[in-house]
């Protein structure tokens, strides 16, 4: 790791000030990707501004079916929230299967979403839940937030403060893990609203990051059952081929994970 300066912000305002004073600063919100990257000397921020101790970024609020999760909420807190589990157990299940216990106690939902790793779990849920990403400057619909591999709509210095969504009638997440990293090789979050609207968020498989799949959504809107996806073609041409899996195999996994997610929802 190159030398860096660590700052712990107590408020959003202080964090913004600290970032403004840094020559090449990075926000830190768990650091489960950033710290290993720095240790490998692949990233060299002059300053780290830690957001995890900012009180206003913490906590899970459930009001009826509306949910607000503070950006600095850890995966463990999401996984074990009984209020959340009562209305949206799928997000708890997703959080409970991110990384390992150490990662889940350090990593945060805001950090994960801001990083937008193409194999991260949360982005698929944000798309399928039609979530709103709340920042210190504005609110951004998830559909407009995730813009590419490790790319988001966040502007320079902008801080995610929370995510908001309404709990769906039914939802589930299924992932097929990469055997080495255990990140999703294909992860599918399905969510169905009372009005029959279905969204399918896919992570790990896309060549440009997380995406929704209109074909699967149409099939499931017409018939919410595992069998409904049997004849849906998942086009491999937009999917990722890498060391671990071909696009064709990922296309198969997307269909199978969707089917299993619907069965589990």
């Amino acid at each position: 790791m190159y030398q860096t300066n660590y700052h712990r912000a107590a408020s959003i305002q202080e964090a913004v000030q600290m970032m403004g004073a840094a020559t090449e600063g990075k926000y830190l919100s768990g650091g489960m990707t950033l710290i290993p990257t720095m240790r490998l000397r692949l990233a060299a921020p002059s300053d780290l501004v830690d957001l995890r101790r900012i009180a206003e970024l913490k906590g899970i609020a459930v009001d009826g079916r509306s949910v607000r999760i503070g950006a600095a909420t850890t995966h463990e807190e999401v996984a074990t929230s009984s209020a959340l589990r009562a209305i949206c157990p799928s997000i708890c299940g997703l959080a409970g299967h991110i990384g390992d216990p150490a990662v889940r106690h350090m990593g945060t939902i805001g950090g994960s979403i801001a990083n937008n790793d193409p194999a991260a779990d949360y982005p698929a849920a944000m798309l399928a839940l039609d979530a709103v990403i709340v920042t210190d400057r504005r609110e951004i619909k998830a559909a407009a937030f995730f813009t590419g591999l490790f790319e988001t709509a966040l502007e320079e210095g902008e801080i995610i403060t929370a995510v908001r969504f309404d709990a769906p009638a039914k939802a589930a997440y299924q992932k097929f893990p990469n055997p080495a990293s255990r990140y999703a090789m294909a992860g599918v979050f399905v969510a169905r609203r009372d009005n029959g609207d279905v969204r399918v968020g896919v992570t790990g498989a896309g060549s440009s990051g997380v995406f929704r799949h209109p074909g699967l959504e149409a099939a499931l809107s017409a018939n919410w059952s595992p069998d409904a996806v049997a004849n849906v073609t998942v086009d491999a041409s937009d999917l990722l081929t890498d060391l671990h899996a071909s696009a064709a195999y990922r296309a198969n996994l997307v269909r199978v994970m969707t089917k299993r997610a619907v069965a589990a929802a």
């Binding site: 790791m1 190159y2 030398q3 490998l40 000397r41 097929f176 990469n178 055997p179 080495a180 990293s181 990140y183 060391l243 671990h244 899996a245 071909s246 195999y249 198969n252 996994l253 199978v256």
Partner: protein, 781 residues
């Protein structure tokens, strides 16, 4: 058997230290004035070095010095060598290209060291290493061993035309061809044995200390064989004469073969310590471990097996290309030859065998022994072929094996080995019973109902351990003898220190070797210390690899104990005015048989050292040493049965049952043996399902971290069902055979045989990733 003696499940003495964080590993060592080294490594798989400019790096904060390969050459430090000479079938010696500890003209793999930076801290050394400007002229690279042999490919070493290191054969090719022509059935297969990264928990590390006052060097290092390291560094690398070089391998956190070899870093840190005047420590990070630790396996083979009308094997023909990487590592030449082709008879009576092995340079890290070393490659090839043949012939896999088992011993194979003892059917029967083989059809039907494809596969392995008679291996090209040395020192009040040339890096020698002494003398195990891993403390040694520590290392201890007992009896007989032939040693007491006269062990020991009342002419003291050179290899064998369920929608394989029935001869500590088997099977399942080193065509390592190199984890593995049977080895005093590698040798074919059985498609290569299994299952439908 006493409570701590042979056969007892004694808890490991060393675990208290390890589990409480009190282990002392090389990186824990610290000496006054010590500085830290970082190596500058090639980012290119193949390039010439036009120049190295370390001016800026030397001026950076904390930097003591930056040294490169030209200075190393000028100081007369020698090339790294391969210690086992193999001759090609045309009689020419293997083509050993120069391996400089720091490359001075050409780099040949990504990670090849070109310079060392010594600084006050690791961070400063890293910063400076990035500031060393190396002017590379990149050359084209080749990483695939088959491609590397073709015309027109990049050439790694001028000595080796078409990158061919040697073209070697074993066995009677003409007899094999005749049998193939006359065969009732021939099974043919193409076999890939995937390339593996060893991944010991502790990465390599070394601390080089030069004492200018005594002109003496001390090398702390992560070695499986410190005496061998000293020999090679002294005799070949010109670092220091043996009497001026102490090598210490303290606690070592796993080796699996990868810490047998002397790597550039030990040599360079010792040399750099003299050049800079400060002790120099280097510790590999995990990325460096992937890049520079010797890899294992990487074979491409074709096989033909001939059968007569009675389903008896009449011949085996094997053609193998083995990737050696960019340079010949210390034992790289013997792994795909005398540790591989000599095991191709397996458990079967095969009249004629011929193996042809070509070894190849490529722009990849050197390949050498890794848990099993040649024997997993032989076993995988043979047991995949047997399973395939059984399917082609319409026989059960057990029936085909039973038809061909060797049933009388000793048995001379057509490929050098003379098997001394075994009962292969006993292991097969034990494994089939433990696996409930006959109930498989019902389990398969039940799985079918859940949409899962269930399969079962077996593997009957043999291996050769206890390397080995020195004269025999010498005649086959070994540059060293393969004896072991031990010294038993009885202290003045009877406690015992055993100095052994074997080295424990996970095997539990501090327990099992002490059990041997406790068993022989009836002393409490806590009064016995096992000393290893230091050339100043241990007289001589050849180290630990090839499952040799029990068969060879403990046999040396047994021989030294014979001498200690003989002298102790003389002293006791004199004290009790009895005849020494009447003295027996039981429960820590020397007794006159048939009388109530006795002398406690501690009193005899004290008498040996007070020397007030010794038999006339007997030297004072009680310390005896022995060298043991085995009469033959040992031949552990067994049968492994694996049962899997494949999810046909994803291709994901779940190992639902794994049964191991092994014959390791006599067993010193069943708990430790089970642990060795468990670990070996885990590594074998890792090879079969998950692990595989991948380079891209330009020679960049794609699997350089655990994000991309899949290691087996607890949830990839079932609880293993293990058992042992026993045909004692007749060729060593303990009747032991060795158990360290069996799990890794026997398990991969059992797993692949099970998966191919489940999906109904025999075309599957390791690692059997979910995608490969899915595709193969699709193709079978």
């Amino acid at each position: 058997m006493g409570v701590d003696g042979i056969g007892a499940r004694v808890a490991r003495k060393e675990d208290r230290r390890f589990l409480t964080g009190k282990g002392r590993y090389t990186d824990d060592m610290s000496v006054p004035g010590m500085k830290y080294a970082v190596f500058v490594r090639s980012p290119h798989a193949h390039a010439t070095i036009a120049g190295i400019d370390a001016t800026a790096a030397r001026a950076m904060p904390g930097v003591i010095d930056v040294l490169d390969g030209r200075q190393l050459l000028a100081d007369g430090i020698g090339n790294l060598i391969c210690g086992w000479m193999i001759h090609s079938k045309d009689g020419s010696p293997m083509k050993m290209g120069a391996w400089r500890p720091l490359a001075d003209k050409t780099v040949r793999y990504v990670g090849d060291a070109v310079a060392i930076v010594v600084a006050d801290s690791v961070a400063e050394a890293r910063d400076a290493a990035e500031a060393v400007v190396v002017d590379y002229d990149p050359l084209p690279a080749v990483t695939d061993p088959v491609q590397a042999l073709a015309d027109g490919q990049p050439q790694l070493h001028p000595e080796a035309s078409n990158n061919l290191v040697f073209d070697w054969e074993l066995g009677d090719g003409a007899a094999v061809d005749r049998a193939l022509a006359a065969a009732a059935h021939v099974t043919e297969l193409k076999i890939f044995n995937n390339r593996l990264s060893p991944n010991p928990m502790e990465p390599r590390a070394t601390l080089g200390i030069y004492d200018a006052g005594d002109e003496h060097y001390t090398c702390y290092t992560t070695s499986q064989n410190p005496h061998l390291a000293r020999l090679v560094m002294s005799a070949f690398y010109n670092v220091a004469p043996e009497n001026k070089l102490r090598v210490i391998a303290p606690d070592v956190g796993g080796g699996f073969g990868s810490k047998i070899y002397i790597y550039p870093e030990e040599i360079v840190c010792l040399w750099a310590s003299k050049r800079t005047g400060v002790p120099v420590k280097w510790t590999s990070d995990r990325t460096e471990a992937f890049l520079t630790d010797a890899h294992g396996r990487d074979h491409v083979s074709t096989v033909k097996m001939a059968f007569d009308a009675g389903n008896r094997i009449t011949a085996l023909k094997v053609d193998t290309i083995a990737n050696l990487g960019a340079y010949m590592s210390l034992f790289s030449s013997c792994v795909p030859t005398y540790l591989y082709a000599t095991l191709l008879s397996g458990q079967y009576d095969i009249p004629a065998i011929h193996a042809n092995v070509r070894t190849v340079y490529t722009n990849t890290v050197p390949v050498d022994a890794y848990r099993g070393a040649g024997r997993p490659e032989a076993t995988y090839l043979l047991e995949r072929t047997m399973e395939t043949a059984a399917r082609e012939l319409g026989l059960s896999p057990a029936e085909l094996r039973r038809t061909n088992f060797i049933r009388s011993f000793p048995h001379q194979t057509p490929v050098i080995m003379n098997y001394d003892a075994g009962d292969y059917e006993a292991s097969l029967n034990a494994a089939m019973a433990a696996a409930d083989w006959n109930g498989f059809a019902a389990r398969k039907a039940e799985a079918e109902g859940r949409g899962m494809k269930r399969g079962i596969g077996m593997s009957c392995y043999i291996e050769a351990c206890g390397l080995a008679p020195s004269a025999a291996v010498g005649s086959l090209g070994a540059g060293v003898g393969l004896w072991e040395s031990a010294e038993v020192k009885v202290n003045m009040v009877g406690t015992i220190e055993v100095m052994t040339g074997s080295h424990s890096h996970g095997q539990g020698h501090e327990t099992t070797f002490a059990q041997l002494v406790a068993d022989r003398l009836g002393l409490p195990i806590d009064s016995i210390n096992i000393v290893h891993g230091d050339t100043d403390k241990v007289q001589m040694g050849m180290g630990t690899y090839g499952s040799r520590s029990g068969a060879v290392g403990m046999s040396a201890v047994a021989k030294a104990l014979d001498k200690v007992e003989a002298k102790a009896k003389k002293i006791a007989a004199h004290l009790m005015e009895a005849d020494e032939s009447d003295i027996v040693i039981e429960d820590g007491v020397l007794k006159v048989a048939g009388t109530d006269k006795s002398v406690p062990w501690f009193q005899m020991a004290l008498a040996a050292y007070t020397a007030h009342n010794l038999p006339p002419g007997l030297e004072p003291g009680l310390k005896e040493s022995a060298f043991y050179d085995p009469a033959n290899f040992t031949f552990p064998a067994g049968c492994y049965i694996c049962e899997v369920e494949v999810d046909p929608e994803t291709g994901r394989t779940k190992v639902v049952q794994f049964v191991a029935a092994d014959d390791f001869g006599n067993i010193i500590n069943p708990m430790i043996v089970e642990g060795q088997v468990h670990g070996g099977i885990a590594q074998g399942i890792g090879q079969a399902l998950l692990e595989g080193v991948r380079y891209d065509d330009s020679g960049q390592l794609l699997t350089a971290s655990y994000l991309d190199y899949a290691m087996p984890r607890a949830d990839d593995l079932p609880s293993f069902v293990v058992s042992t049977s026993n045909t004692p080895c007749p060729n060593n005093p303990l009747g032991v055979k060795g158990c360290g590698e069996a799990g890794a040798i026997g398990s991969p074919p059992a797993l692949i045989n099970a998966i191919t059985d489940a999906i109904g498609n025999n075309q599957l290569t390791m690692p059997a990733t979910a995608e490969k299994v899915w595709a193969a299952a699709q193709a079978a439908n």
